[in-house]
Assembly symmetry: C2
Homo-oligomer: 208 residues x 2
DNA sequence: AGACCTTATGACAAGGGTGTCATTTGAAAT
DNA sequence: ATTTCAAATGACACCCTTGTCATAAGGTCT
């Protein structure tokens, strides 16, 4: 919720501020991000910043909101894929795509990682408010569970959480690693273990 | 590597400083920890601190070193258990014990979590220097792999890393959660998935 | 041109943190 | 008692950050 004043600004200036903020929030955690750095980078006077935003949190939420808009487009391209595919298939195909996207949107991605890193109250709240995009994936998992492809004693949400915990550190490793291919191989291995662990037990059978 | 002066200090004073440091490093990440807070808590003048330690990093390494000493005792009680038990058994038994320990040593535990959270260069270095205690676990895993209990296409190190990635966020959740039992159940579920995913494939057989 | 409203601007106060250093204090040794 | 060395101490200089506010600058409308 930036001020009206901000929205009335010429697009170029808005963009400059947005970019500076993205850069800063990608560089370090929210708690360490500095308005000073942002205004310097955006080349706006300090006073102006407070004419546009109530403070750092305000700016952060705005940035997140803007990023979400772009992210949504990417997400839908996966989850909208026709539903004949099971969860494992979708995820397996998604892996390369995730990393391609990670390469192209390093800053956005870093912001996501920093969100998880910074575990302040503010960030916990913010994260819980933002976790809407999981819906489609949840549906796919539950579908597979009905079909007996995935064990039913694990909630779909739990599975997604598990995946998130697994991929988070690896994406981070991906950025800092010299050998990026090795990281991708590792994540494939992780998923392989996961898939195997999640398959419905033979004894239980698939019959509903 | 505190100074000689520090080591010559009366035990009570040393302890007071140590406790204050533990409290601060448990309260927040290394990068956010404040020497000011520590000296205030320990009730020593600011100048004295610099007579004992070169700086925050120096103090931190000292604290870590002290904690390691205590931690080692706990670790050995598990890994020294007679080796007839496989990795899955050891881990399964360890789960409750880990959480008991987590309850008793909340501050030490928090410091460990904060280590992972703070991903500065200093911390990355420090972590890599400290990862010696894995040795025993690695051995158990490799033993199981030879016996055909665990799939051989995953390195022992990778497995441990995977487990660390899984448990890290959960221990954190454990501390902040109202329903601690649910968290333990969740981690048991995680491990169940993991165990299943790590079992040697039937087709491959156990024969070396 | 004057009035009026919006926006721009940077100096400022306040607060927190770091590392240093000249000086005081303490205790042991001669 | 005096000397001497180790330790204690807190004021100081410096850095960075945040949020505010009085003032300057720009437009627009009459």
């Amino acid at each position: 919720m930036p001020t009206e004043t901000f929205y009335r600004l010429p697009a170029a200036k808005k963009q400059r501020i947005f970019q500076a903020a993205v850069g800063e929030f990608a560089r370090c955690r929210f708690s360490e991000a500095s308005i000073n750095q942002i205004v310097k980078q955006a080349a706006i006077p300090r006073g102006s910043f407070y004419q546009y935003f109530a403070g750092k949190e305000d700016l952060y939420l705005y940035v997140l909101q803007e990023i979400s808009k772009e992210k949504l487009k990417v997400y839908s391209s996966f989850t909208a894929a026709d539903s004949s595919q099971g969860f494992f298939d979708v995820l397996e195909q998604a892996i390369p795509a995730i990393f391609v996207w990670a390469d192209d949107n390093e800053e956005y991605n870093m912001i996501g990682l920093r969100m998880v890193q910074d575990n302040s109250d503010f960030m916990r709240e913010t994260i819980s408010k933002m976790s809407g995009s999981k819906g489609a994936m949840t549906a796919i998992i539950e579908e597979d569970q009905k079909k007996g492809k995935i064990r039913q004693d694990v909630e779909a949400e739990t599975i997604l959480e598990l995946i998130q915990n697994l991929t988070g550190p690896l994406i981070q490793e991906y950025y800092s690693s010299k050998n990026q291919k090795a990281v991708i191989d590792k994540i494939k291995l992780y998923f392989d273990i996961l898939f195997r662990g999640l398959q419905a037990k033979q004894e239980e059978g698939g019959r509903t």
